[in-house]
Every structure is written in C-alpha cells, then in structure tokens.
Symmetry: C2
Subunit: 227 residues, 2 copies
C-alpha cells in the first residue's frame, strides 16, 4: 500500500538547513497496524504529513497504492486525502467558527454526501467518541481532550481505508486513551490500515509493528512479539 524509498525533507532557513528526514525507507501493507515513536523533533510528523499527501518530500519516492504521489495534481491529491485517508493532526486543526458537529461533517461535505445522511454519520462518529453532549460546542467551548476526540471523529467519519493518527491520545486520560485504542483495534479488524505516532509505550505496544525514528532516520522497525 505504501512504498517509501530514500525519502528526504529539508527546510531552508536563511543560511541554515534543517534536515527533518534524511533517507527514510519504509513499506507498509494494507491492514497493518503500525506505531511510530521517537524523540521530540525527530521527524515523525514530517513523515506523517508526507504519507498523508499534505506535504511533498525534497527528494525520494513515495508510492501510495502503486501511484507515484509526486506526479499527481493538486486535485488528485485532494481527492486521495478526502476519500482514502483519515488524518488526525497533532494540533487537531479544527475550524474555530464551526461547532463539533459541523467540524465532523466537513469531510462529508467535500465528498458530496447528502445533508441528512451526513448529519447522521457525523452524530454517530461523535457518539462513538463519547461526545454526544458536546455536539454544539465550538472548539473554544471544549476541553483539550474533547477537541482531540472531535479531531478523531472527523478522521473516521468518511470511513477511510487508512488512518494516520499523530499523537491521538496526547491530551486524554488513561481510560479515555484506551477507549480510543479500542476503536482503532476495531477499525483494524474491519480491514483498515492504521499508522499511529505516539510517545506512550503502553499505546505503541498495542500495534502489531513498531517503528522508531531518531534524527530523521528509522533506527528500528520490528514486529511486536509480545503476544
């Protein structure tokens, strides 16, 4: 499903260069459940943004579903993001003027779903995340963990085949964090592919495969064998 070869990403700041990714090689098959860990600033979100077709590498190759992403148009990328990928951002990226329900409806509006059905699907997604009493709250009327859960609901509502989750439990208490992991495991059993960045080992070990990134390179890539 995902084939990444010698992926590099550098940022140029005046005279300085920051190499966020320095030659990443990675293959992920359909229906895998992969966790990514690594120190702060090591390149995890940068890699995730490229996987999610939100950013382009400086060099290297990214094949998604055998499609060379670098040769796609903006419209094609937009469609891939909307139809195939559910992205949960480290900083949530909710629209401040829309309430929780409207934020979750947004991807359904883009994919042209009819009004009543999309309201139903959005409500269902929010209920699944324990937010049925917060649907009309705007982001600034929600707690940190509630905003995080709205971001998760929004990523799941279009039933995408692959879920990219960047620190999905960073603002959640342990119990709610495990409830989120239960949802990811259900989605995984339904055939979806899950890639999850986390800094919490108890979360990472619930995936089938663990990747460690340091300084823009993958330093470990192994199956979790604690079954």
């Amino acid at each position: 499903l995902i084939e990444i070869k010698d992926l590099r990403k550098k940022y140029i700041m005046g005279e300085m260069e920051v190499e966020a990714l320095r030659g990443v090689n990675l293959n992920i098959s359909t229906n895998e459940f992969v966790s990514i860990m690594g120190p702060s600033g090591s390149g995890k979100s940068t890699l995730m943004n490229i996987l999610g077709c939100l950013d382009t590498p400086s060099s290297g190759q990214y094949l998604f579903d055998s499609i060379d992403i670098s040769s796609r148009t903006d419209d094609e990328l937009s469609e891939i993001r909307n139809q195939k990928i559910g992205f949960i951002f480290q900083t949530f990226n909710l629209l401040p003027k829309l309430d929780a329900l409207q934020n979750v409806e947004l991807p359904l509006i883009y994919s042209g779903v009819e009004k009543h059905l999309r309201k139903d699907l959005a409500k269902k997604a929010l209920k699944r995340l324990g937010l049925e009493n917060r649907m009309n709250h705007k982001p600034n009327e929600l707690s940190g963990g509630q905003r995080q859960r709205v971001a998760i609901a929004r990523a799941l509502v279009t039933n995408p085949g692959i879920i990219l989750a960047d620190e999905p439990t960073g603002n959640l208490d342990t119990k709610t964090g495990f409830e989120i992991m239960e949802i990811f495991k259900e989605l995984h059993q339904e055939g979806n592919t899950i890639i999850l960045i986390t800094h919490e080992p108890e979360i990472a070990e619930q995936a089938d495969r663990g990747i460690i990134i340091r300084d823009g390179l993958i330093t470990k890539d192994a199956l979790n064998t604690t079954i």
Copy 2:
C-alpha cells in the same frame, strides 16, 4: 498561598448549562508540588485558569497570597499573572508571528526588563529546554514537542514563584518528559510552588501530593506516600 472555597463555574449555552466546577475546596501552601489528574472534560483546565487569574468563577472564593482575587482590578490581576505566576497552557498559546526567542522574551518585555538582559534570560531558558538550535524558528517551523517546550521556557523565564502547568509533557517522548520533570523538581527545591495537570500516572507520582477531579469535584486529595 492558595485558598479556594466552594468554587463553581458554569457556562450557559442557549437553554443548556454546563457545570464545569461544582463546589471545589482546595488549599495549597507555598512550596508544595501538586499533581491534578482526572478524566477528559472533568474541569482540570477550568480550575487551572481560575488559579492563574485568567478566568473568574461563577461563585465561591479564591484567596491568592491572602488577596481576594474577585476584588482585584484587571490591571492588578495582570500584574499578579506577570510577576507571580508562570502558566503553561494545554494548547501552548504561542504567538505565530514571533519566533521562539521572541515568544519567550514576551513576559520579560511586560515586566520592563532591559533589552540585553531579557535576550540573555530568554536564551538561557530555551537552552535549558534543549532548544538552542531552534531559537529563530516560528511555531509553525517547530515540532509539537518543541512548541510545548517553548511554552514551558516562556513560563519559567520570569522566575515566577508559582508554576501552573497544564499537560506539560502531553506532546513529549518519555525521555524528554522526564527531563521536564527534572526541571520542575529543581524549581521545587528552589522553593517554588508547582501545580501540574497530567494524564500520565508516572508523571503524577513524581509530585508530593495528588488530586483527582471528576465531574467538576475533587474526589481525592492525598499525599503521595511511595517514598
């Protein structure tokens, strides 16, 4: 230092009322190290914002340093926040157009510190948080954990007597999280008061006293006796 009696906070949304705090009683002395845990949406950040003089309760009393906070003017509250309290926000609240160094200098500008000294203090604070190579990066040129650390540096740079930290390690890998805790312990040994919201038990147990909040009420308040 802090005396809170029957503190309540409610939000009115159309016909509905959300009771975020439902009668909180809490006394914290100078030089305590207190952790606050509880489920997502239970009222932790709401309590913290009132403690930090950023928000006012619907009813109940808050005495800070024997001063009745409800009778202070906005200017007086502003001065208390700038001089006495270092606040680390759950959502960082960095200014997007300023780089890391400028963001950390901001509280020093408000307290009238001279230009060269404040640059020195800001650089020192960022170095302590491992960010000496990121001083000229704006928030959108930083990783999630780097932004979190800029927010921490900014809270510490004025050398406040009390530090209110809302999920300070939520976006940090385990090792960096423990480095932050080492900094808090140093500050505590220097005589400062630390109040810290976290959802991670390994972080909470490093405080001397643990408080648990559920549904707007304190359900547990005990010394950590695992010494």
